[in-house]
């Protein structure tokens, strides 16, 4: 009793501080989460969430029974995992390179410039990309031509399309992604570098032994959260750039769900797919969380 009393006395302010945050997610996340029930229903608006007929796993079976489903899953995971890896490495590299710049104004200018593409929508960028990547008039192919290579139909060729998605997505988002690593860099103790310099460690060694370990918590965090996106290959981007020629390599879960939705609004089906994706992310994220805890005794969050 006394122990509990003391515990409560010590910890109650911490609990209290969470109340507003918990209220927010209770209202805007947990209550609406009841909607996952739709995944197992044929949702009828008048009958509502709790009165619509139960259809079991029918909505999931519709997904599994779709003739091209294997291909679609493969495309999704293939594109998404490349995006996850590149989307992690590029911003980290750029953050470190920016950090090496001596002059503050230079750093700020570059930082601001690379962050620009994040603010342009894919609707807009798709038009620009079609021009830039055009085999006949596009600048990329003109450069390839100048070094003696044959023009490549990047957006119309199944061998290239997935990589174009990865590269253009990384190009659009890396600048924005860099911000968080730059913030992480500010937390590294400058005295560590001074000490290393006295020990005669070069810049490369310092990066390896001080900078990277210093960023590690944030890197691990970002990696873990991004792994959860393995079934999200980027609807907006692919929807605006794909075409029947590259369906084979470009059709992903979300574009498929969209095309089914065009035929007829099927709330249950879209919810079922969403739930499936959630479960996969949950499994991946929780596994990495517990692995990190078990083997490195580190809590990612």
């Amino acid at each position: 009793m006394n122990a509990i009393g003391r515990w409560w006395r010590r910890e109650w302010p911490l609990h209290a501080m969470l109340i507003p945050g918990l209220a927010a997610i209770l209202l805007f996340s947990y209550i609406p989460m009841a909607g996952v029930a739709m995944a197992f229903e044929k949702f009828i608006p008048t009958k509502g969430l709790f009165g619509s007929p139960f259809v079991g796993l029918k909505n999931f079976r519709f997904l599994i029974d779709y003739p091209d489903i294997g291909r679609i899953f493969f495309n999704t995971i293939y594109i998404a995992s490349m995006k996850i890896v590149a989307g992690l490495l590029v911003p980290i590299t750029i953050a470190i390179l920016l950090n090496e710049l001596g002059r503050a104004w230079m750093k700020r200018t570059f930082q601001t410039l690379v962050y620009l593409p994040h603010f342009l929508s894919w609707v807009l960028l798709s038009g620009i990309l079609i021009d830039v990547l055009s085999p006949s008039t596009g600048i990329v192919n003109q450069i390839l031509g100048a070094v003696g290579m044959k023009p490549v139909f990047f957006l119309g060729d199944n061998r290239w399309f997935p990589y174009v998605m990865v590269v253009s997505d990384v190009w659009k988002e890396f600048g924005f992604g860099t911000i968080v690593y730059l913030a992480a860099l500010t937390g590294i103790n400058p005295t560590l570098y001074e000490a290393a310099e006295i020990d005669g460690a070069g810049r490369w060694k310092q990066t390896l032994h001080i900078t990277l370990p210093g960023m590690m918590p944030i890197i691990v965090l970002m990696l873990t959260l991004n792994i959860g996106n393995v079934l999200n290959a980027g609807f907006d981007q692919i929807f605006n750039l794909y075409n029947p020629q590259v369906y084979e390599s470009a059709d992903i879960i979300d574009t498929f769900v969209y095309r089914v939705g065009v035929e007829q609004t099927q709330f249950g089906f879209a919810t079922a797919v969403g739930l499936l994706k959630s479960i996969v992310s949950f499994l991946l994220i929780s596994t990495s969380y517990f692995l990190a805890y078990r083997f490195a005794n580190y809590r990612i969050f």
Binding site: I19, P20, A23, L27, F43, I44, P45, T46, K47, G48, F62, Y66, P67, D68, G127, I130, S134, P135, S136, T137, F153, L155, G156, L241, N243, P244, Q245, Y247, E248, D251, F256, R259, V260, V262, E263, Q264, T265, Q266, F267
Partner: protein, 556 residues
């Protein structure tokens, strides 16, 4: 200590705020269904035929706001001359539950339906209509319509022999008021006339002419850009502009519609042998370099750049195509491209028929909980009356309180509209515009178009497009001949999507687009088409054909 208090206060403030707004509004959030339930039975019995306007009926709807609607000072969607006129003339007070921009209206409506938060009446598309019927959310209007629609309305709505009304009738019950309209909109061939003259080419009468012109436009490069093509098309083969339905129709192939197979049964256009020929022809064009090899990644806007930039001068499209073409044709206040329009050339001796739909895309439905469904029919009566028999008094429905045209598009405020099921635009407009004589113009559409075309005649080149649509040599001027010879192929299927369609169309359409594009781009031999047909049948097509024919047997 004081800081601590401040922090807690801030948190409490936020929480309280949420709670306060929540409390104040929950009551009226859920009430409408409960309140209206009691009066439901009286709905159909209360109104007598004709219109008793002594009692003002209140009715709610939702509206799409259009950027071309300009309000008179002091007026708005909620308070305007058109709504006032309906209240005064037929005793219906219209209220708006919400208003969304026209581009976002469908999404907002979807949410309203899904959350069962419906106004008394609202416009939906065919698939939503189906969904609302299944969910039992809308009212059977058979009796209400029968009792309240006046004779003129009833005649007006069935001038096409009742086809469009039938599309809103399910199991003998009228479930919606179709927004009637004119289905007879043909595809046309659009050609750069200045180039034809420059290169001394004949006007396109046959498909052979089209090929000759395409080849000449490519090889002789009249635009002088060095990168010219013959025919412009985009990745969506069936788009209304820069699509190839018109081209396919030239081969008597009909894309994505159901046609009579000659034995009284319905067959799907995409899998007929004529389609193979059309694809073969497109592949030939592609092989000769007459089609942009990058067309498959471009949408209409992107593909049209070839037209705007003098790189191509041959394209298929609907009568409104000039609204696209104007982007390149009018430059710095001058007309720099001269376009001409031709009826669809045919690949053989038999004239080409342009494929058309039913002509109804929008349906007005009435919520089960509406108290006064008869008010909807009053609106319909009044709109049809005002739109077709204009008097000085009812001009307010078109122009607002001043009753004069000032291009403020006040007619958009009418919450329920229905239009003629045939169009006389082709018979009336070209002559009226040529002779500057508006006396023969009847409909509002004709007057608007006449006004715009006259602006062009008087030197406003930005209205060039309307002249090419409605003027003496415009697209609509070709309609009288097309109609006389009945060169239309109408989709015979107008039922709700069948169960297998709902389930399988996503895969069937994907396969079709994939195969068709590959054939056109010469990445697959034309014989791939035969494999597609058998795949299509296996993947659910046969079942769909069966369902469509079952439906056909019922309605025939």
């Amino acid at each position: 200590m004081s800081r601590k208090v401040k922090g807690v206060l801030a948190a409490a403030l936020i929480a309280g705020l949420v709670a306060a707004t929540a409390c104040s509004k929950t009551d009226n959030g859920v009430s409408p269904s409960a309140a209206s339930k009691g009066s439901e039975p009286s709905a159909s019995s209360s109104a007598s035929p004709g219109t008793d306007t002594s009692q003002v009926l209140e009715i709610s709807t939702v509206r799409a706001s259009d950027p071309y609607l300009k309000f008179d000072p002091g007026e708005s969607f909620d308070k305007n001359a058109v709504y006032d006129a309906y209240e005064k003339d037929v005793g219906v007070k219209i209220t708006n539950k919400w208003i969304a921009d026209i581009s976002q209206f469908p999404e907002k409506l979807k949410m309203a339906i899904a959350s069962n938060d419906l106004p008394d009446f609202f416009p939906v598309d065919a698939s939503q209509l189906q969904q609302l019927i299944e969910a039992d959310m809308i009212m059977d209007l058979t009796d209400v319509y029968d009792k309240n629609a006046n004779e003129y309305t009833k005649k007006f709505m069935t001038m096409d022999g009742g086809l469009q009304m039938k599309t809103a009738t399910f199991d003998g019950k009228l479930m919606a008021i179709p927004q009637t309209g004119n289905p007879y909109g043909s595809q046309f061939l659009w050609v750069r006339k200045d180039w034809l003259q420059k290169l001394n080419l004949p006007e396109p009468k046959t498909m052979q002419d089209v090929l000759t012109i395409a080849e000449a436009f490519k090889t002789k490069d009249p635009g002088g850009t060095g990168k010219s093509y013959g025919l412009v098309m985009n990745k969506n083969l069936y788009d209304g502009a820069t699509g190839v339905t018109g081209f396919m129709n030239g081969y008597h192939a009909y894309a994505d519609i159901w046609i009579d197979d000659g034995t009284g049964k319905l067959a799907y256009g995409d899998i007929q042998p004529q389609m193979k020929q059309a694809l073969q022809a497109l592949q030939d064009l592609f092989k000769k370099g007459l089609i942009d090899p990058e067309f498959a990644v471009k949408d209409t806007n992107k593909a049209s750049e070839l037209l705007y930039g003098d790189k191509a001068g041959l394209v298929y499209g609907a009568e409104w195509s000039p609204a696209q073409l104007v982007n390149g044709a009018v430059k710095d206040g001058k007309v720099v491209q001269d376009w001409a329009v031709y009826p669809l050339p045919s690949a053989d001796g038999e004239p080409a028929k342009s494929q058309i739909g039913i002509g109804v895309g929008t349906y007005y439905v009435v919520s089960k909980h509406a108290k006064h469904p008869e008010a909807v029919i009053r609106l319909l009566n009044q709109f049809i009356e005002a739109d077709n028999n204009q008097t000085e008094e009812n001009k307010v429905y078109e122009f607002g309180k001043d009753r004069v045209e000032k291009s403020s598009n006040y007619w958009l405020l009418n919450p329920l509209t229905a239009y003629n099921q045939t169009s006389t635009n082709g018979d009336v407009l070209p002559g009226a515009i040529a002779n500057r004589d508006p006396s023969g113009l009847k409909t509002k559409d004709q007057k608007t178009r006449y006004g715009r075309a006259m602006k062009y005649v008087d030197g406003d080149v930005s209205m060039w497009w309307e002249y090419l649509i409605s003027g003496p040599n415009g697209a609509v001027s070709l309609y009288p001949d097309i109609k006389k010879n009945n060169l239309f192929m109408q989709n015979k299927f107008y039922g709700a999507p069948t169960p297998t369609m709902v389930e399988k169309n996503a895969i069937l359409l994907k396969k079709r687009d994939e195969v068709f594009i590959k054939i056109i781009m010469n990445q697959a031999p034309v014989d791939e088409f035969d494999k597609f047909v058998s795949d299509w049948k296996k993947l659910g097509g046969d079942q769909i054909t069966q369902e469509v024919n079952d439906w056909y047997a019922k309605v025939k």
